[in-house]
Homo-oligomer: 355 residues x 2
Amino acid sequence: MKPGSHISEVLTPQPVIDEDVMAANISRVQGYFDSIGRKFRPHIKTHKIPALAWAQVEAGAVGINCQKLSEAEVFAEAGFEDILITFNLIGDERLERLRALNERCRLSVVADNVVVVEGLAAAFGGKRRLTVLVECETGMRRNGVLTPGAAVDLARAIVGAEGLRFGGLMTYPTPHSEERIEEFYSETMRLLEAEGIACPVRTVGGTPSLFAAEKIKSATEHRAGTYIYNDRAMVRAGHCGLEDCAMHILAMVVSVPEKGRFVLDVGSKGLTSDLSGFADYGVILEYPEARIVKLSEEHGVVELDGDGPGPSVGERVRIVPNHTCVVSNLFDSMVFHRGGVVTRVEKVAARGRVW
Amino acid sequence: MKPGSHISEVLTPQPVIDEDVMAANISRVQGYFDSIGRKFRPHIKTHKIPALAWAQVEAGAVGINCQKLSEAEVFAEAGFEDILITFNLIGDERLERLRALNERCRLSVVADNVVVVEGLAAAFGGKRRLTVLVECETGMRRNGVLTPGAAVDLARAIVGAEGLRFGGLMTYPTPHSEERIEEFYSETMRLLEAEGIACPVRTVGGTPSLFAAEKIKSATEHRAGTYIYNDRAMVRAGHCGLEDCAMHILAMVVSVPEKGRFVLDVGSKGLTSDLSGFADYGVILEYPEARIVKLSEEHGVVELDGDGPGPSVGERVRIVPNHTCVVSNLFDSMVFHRGGVVTRVEKVAARGRVW
């Protein structure tokens, strides 16, 4: 697919990204954080494409957020200098790679337990110091220390380790938990101050209630990924409108077996099975009343009530997926366009980097 | 990961395949079809690895089944000579590639509507004939003509097209629909015979009720994919036991935030969100009572009741996924082992080939 060709010629199924919508998403979110005087660090998990992260940094982001070490390696290789990995890193091979990575960029990682801190401490003794933030649980029930007291205990262990530097606090919250985060962070900061432990970074994450970030007075930084493309779940969360969704999955109607049912050439190997709380697998822009009720690996079965004519075999449609980040991870390359004209094709460089 | 190393050194998360279990799965299923005198055609969607398809063909399979043209191209390039693509193929670029593919192997495709047949007819006029089967609906409510009469209408259109050859009938059924398939196929064959149309191939698919295939007297061939690895859904279907699941996803416990909850380093980008009708995302062999209740992209949140000690941070576990075919499609390479010792690493050559 060459620049200048039209997306109507792109082989289906294929996600395509509207350049203008994406640029507006980057600008809108960076503008918000600039306006409240807060640092912003985009999460690259959504796109996994260095060129897009450069656009985010050029707009004003302080650095990038990766979820896995192997993602961070791809982005360090592409020249990024400020990387936060928000995942507990464990194991000799991984720690050896982490040491190499720490020599080539400003790197921070997180920990929510002593096993992780002890592993990092053992690996970084006598090496260039590694910055470690403490991950805090603020409602997500995933990783994170449960109380401010536990956060301070872990901070103390980090401060006490020769090769480590305590960087501050990190959380990935559920939406609309601004008050809870503020409470957790401010109490932890009070306890740390009483022990004379500096806590320079307090980073918070997530796209859904991003525009309420100013309520978290103690935060210094926000991280978000999905906002660059947006998706159906972000529309439901009130973060954006359907017109702000930059990713459309192009698909083709391959069968209309009977009235009220048609079949698309995209299934769970293109849309993923992420329901994200919805009852079906995405919004078909041309048939907003239709429901993608069942996915096989390569088929999407759609039901459409009513007396309208419905689509014909061979017709192409655009789907806004429930969850854009997992779709990115299925495709080796991403097609970008402006007004339907292809502008570029980018390799999804960190696709499949889960280690 | 080199042959001879141990899978306990494989970086998590990573699916690994037990060679002996896989070989037994291949042998058991091929043996069954040999015993009932029926051709067997493995579906490569499950593994997407040519070396595995060779093992299936060497065991006695008549050829292979692909779901998408781009998968078939990968396997034709690897030297496979008998390929059935069970998907409606539409569009000029695709049909041009299909013509090229038809020159280099014994190729069959399917159609369930006249638009597809007309497209194929236009593309193959004056070329080496393409074999086309009619896809029939037998309960799956996906693709397929709804009645034997409609199947005959479409067969007639195929017979009437200069560049096409009518190959027979194809269905992908729901499990335990042997009677319905037999009824559909035998009635269609009666109608075709009355018109003097030969119907050499009657192919049926699916792993779950595969061992009941002998009930479909009219069938000449069976297609199945999942049986080579098996998964939690196949155990529930009664096709196999948990010990027959050749794929285990190796994962690591990265956090134990509180009693009763721990977190794995594998999420929806490793296990996929396929629930396949289950309430959680896989079976942890070391903790069979545990429930993988929530997946983020890179985290698997597990709940485990009871007074037992539960796992420690850094502990490695093995997960039998709900659905193995979608897991294969997330990883660039697959690690094989015998008794824990790595035997080979295979590139998942057709990963991401959805076009």
